[in-house]
Symmetry: C2
């Protein structure tokens, strides 16, 4: 085959769920659907060190569309190449390897229509927002459980069950264990804990277990924001201070195994700037490796403590921000958007909780408030929870159950977002402190936060509006989760050089409670 | 001479004021002081087009310290090379030209000690702040008069007189005229207004007049933030849509003429993103040309309307931000600092004024308030004024007199800043909404804004503090410009994991007025 091949799939590619995410017959290929996972598994050498000695990849081709995907060694003489077909129809593949028995293997398969609920991978849309590959808007309501996959199976099952009943459609999760949290004795590298690692060999059993959980998330429609590195090792296992060649091989191995899961996002690190053994250049390199070896261009970010990474770099798809203060106020939250002109995700804004750390003491009301402020600012906010006897027993740490009062209300917000503008909510006339997000001309969310006014004089900034247009107003109680239509419509009349008011000078009567929003839509 | 020569002076260089900034005897060299201006003037060809035909530069050498400075044609067969000696002592120079009579001219001169008030050029210090070359901190209180140098001499004289009595130590000013403002009939290019320009020839008379004013600013200790381009031409003269080679030659000519003024800063543009004939790449190039041709590395920035320039670029020394909303609240204002890890200057935050545009209607109180919020956030804020019968008759437009109530209070703030930490004021424990800036451990400014509390429970975040340390408190009325010491001292006792309070649980009694700040210093 002599088709032109690009490492990265063309724009708009992406792939869908198989009922059984892994465990195909050896030496055979799995069935597939568009944005699902097609897997080629091959028998090859088990001697030497296949993790470093054997190079394997395959080119997948449909017409002029070519994708090259790296394979990986899965132990016991088994090699796999996974592929997420971005297009329906017949695909042909050919393997390439420095080992003769793995080289030049060819095959043909047909990618069928995606199953219900399979919208493909998520990518950036409309500069500041996200959408699935099939065009469906993706309205992020994220959460974080750093070490949930390091827990016993029963706990992991419980976490999955909790997520299934939650509003969350993204979860941030680490591959490496956390020294302050419990972990089962299963690690990404071969060797023995705490320091007897063979950093030239991976532990396929660890990754198969991880993949099972990523597959479950995918089937629930939840994005898995995979945290590749973090500083919470503190010398216990040494995973935060491996040599550069080990880091790089690890990143490539993770990408080779996971990239064909359509719900994967890549987070280079949590609090990258606290990793004393690494420099910013190391993270540049991790981004570059990920970008070069992921054929599907899954979303890429890095999370910080104090020193924000240079999100202007072309390999960063969106900003992953830690800052609770910024989402106390929409006029703070929106500031980063124009710096990077990329989606801004406030992944860490402190946690709903009752622990003795000030980063884990938010009330449910305050957590929900931060989501609303971030939303009307045209950004996205992340939840987690620290309610428990100790940090070791919290959703944020190890998953399990949700005990807080915010998730239900975040579900209400998600409904509002999903029934809102497909193109996303953007701040409107943002420098004037209107506290107004939406789509100018047609859709507005006015959010009052902890203020409890009893009326709001109807007023909209002029962008996209004209006299005589009519608007309906609903009063949303973001805490009680109620929607009350305001009778009648409001008709626009020019108020001054910048704003329209109601032609009859009407105001909206408000309930005098905090956490109220207005939804204002063109009639 | 075979000394190694660098285009850019080594770190710490910079140069000082001559009583007469221009107009030296032809064919001779001027006297000089450290950070003053030494000028070589030479007679050469007046035929052809010296602006494009003649290349002239000189290497200035002291020991191993070498600086290469471009010369320029000043009309009437006169060529000049200006140099700002960064070191005292004997300098030797040799000219280089493609014209024999200008090539290989040599000379020797001695740069003496800087005169009183000459601290050298301003550069970035302590990541987020500024200092003069001699180490003196520079505490910026800036203003803007876009088109003051385009006004008649009497008006320019009045502007200088006003500045001399003002608190301002920086002024933003444009080289090109503004179509909505008056201008005298003197332009940077040869030819005739409005469209009869010879873009291959400059108008030395225009630049000599500009230099006179820059020299006056220098002698007043005022930085001249020179705006190279702007979008306010709107087809009247075409200066916003010149060809790229004309733009580039213009930038080089301006730098060759002005770089030896120690008080010059370079602003690539005002509202660069509104210049329809230019792309971001054009501004990259202007930065690069300026960086490469300015031997003294004067400060470089670019001002925007909505799309913030990528201030992570290495050629940007500090961010020049337009955003009034951001400085209504210190927790907004500080957000940009960690994005770029460079000084953040809010050069445009709306104006104190009474015009019918919402960007020119700030009260004096609100203007001063924005300076204080920006200051405790570890950033710098810029003033201007739109008080007049029309925009055409305002300080912001054409200089003249100041009529607002803010400048006097900005003078009070400047005194507070100049008697504060030499390293600058940084936000303290910034994500907790303490509204506290200073130098952790020794110096704090707590600012209350429009709130009017009657007491403040003494409390400081723990960074840099220990139990038993004693602090004094003063109550600053930022509007009345008074400083009232609070009797006694406050002794630290641990309050919780994050803060210290007073050992006796004392609070500070406040006057119950807005615009109050506390200055808290280690006893």
């Amino acid at each position: 085959m002599t088709y032109p091949v690009t490492r990265r799939a063309a724009c708009g590619l992406g792939l869908a769920a198989l009922a059984t995410p892994a465990g195909f017959a050896r030496g055979t290929a799995s069935p597939a659907e568009q944005w699902g996972m097609f897997e080629v598994s091959l028998k090859g050498p088990a001697s030497g060190n296949p993790f470093v000695d054997v190079h394997l990849s395959a080119t997948f081709q449909q017409g002029t569309e070519g994708v090259e995907a790296d394979g990986f060694y899965d132990g016991d003489g088994v090699y796999r190449i996974r592929f997420m077909p971005g297009l329906r129809g017949e695909w042909r593949y050919r393997t390439k390897s420095n080992v003769a028995e793995l080289d030049g293997k060819t095959g043909v398969f047909v990618a069928g229509a995606p199953a219900a609920g399979n919208h493909g991978p998520v990518a950036v849309a409309n500069t500041f927002h996200f959408a699935y590959a099939d065009g469906t808007p993706y309205k992020e309501i994220g959460t974080t459980c750093y070490a949930w996959i390091q827990q016993p199976d029963a706990r992991c099952d419980l976490t999955v069950k909790t997520l299934a009943a939650s509003p969350f459609n993204k979860i941030r999760m680490a591959i490496f264990p956390n020294e302050s949290l419990p972990t089962i004795p299963l690690f990404p590298f071969a060797g023995t804990a705490p320091h007897g690692w063979d950093f030239t060999r991976f532990n396929p059993a660890f990754f198969r277990r991880l993949e099972k959980r990523i597959g479950q998330l995918r089937d629930l429609g939840i994005q898995a924001d995979i945290i590749l590195f973090h500083p919470y090792d503190k010398g216990r296992w040494g995973f935060d201070s491996m040599a550069a060649d080990v880091d790089d091989r690890y990143v490539r191995y993770v990408v080779a195994r996971l990239a064909a899961y359509r719900n994967v996002w890549w987070s280079m690190a949590n609090e990258y700037d606290l990793m004393k053994a690494k420099t910013e250049k190391d993270f540049d390199r991790f981004f570059q490796i990920t970008q070069a070896s992921d054929p599907y261009a899954h979303l890429r970010s890095v999370h910080h403590s104090r020193k924000i990474y240079n999100n202007n770099h072309p390999w960063v798809t969106h900003a992953s921000i830690q800052n609770g203060s910024a989402v106390e106020d929409d006029a703070r939250a929106e500031l980063y958007r124009e710096v990077w002109r990329k989606p801004v995700v406030y992944d860490e804004v402190k946690y709903e909780g009752n622990i003795d750390k000030r980063w884990g003491q938010l009330s449910g009301e305050e957590m929900v408030h931060r989501f609303w402020e971030g939303t009307i600012a045209g950004t996205y906010v992340g939840h987690s929870e620290t309610i428990g006897a100790s940090v070791e027993d919290t959703w944020m740490g190890i998953g399990g159950v949700l005990r807080g009062t915010s998730p239900k209300r975040l579900g209400f917000l998600r409904q509002v977002m999903e029934s809102g503008p497909a193109n996303g909510i953007d701040p409107i006339d943002k420098w004037q402190d209107h506290h107004l997000g939406g789509e100018a001309g047609s859709y507005y969310l006015r959010y009052f936060g902890s203020d409890a006014p009893t009326q709001w004089p109807f007023m909209l900034p002029k962008v996209g509006l004209a006299e005589g247009q009519r608007f309906t107003v609903e009063i949303l109680d973001t805490w009680a989760m109620t929607i009350a239509p305001v009778p009648g419509t409001f008709t626009l009349r020019k108020l001054d050089d910048y704003n329209f008011a109601d032609a009859d000078g009407r105001a909206v009567t408000l309930p005098g409670k905090p956490w109220i929003a207005l939804r204002i839509r063109k009639a």
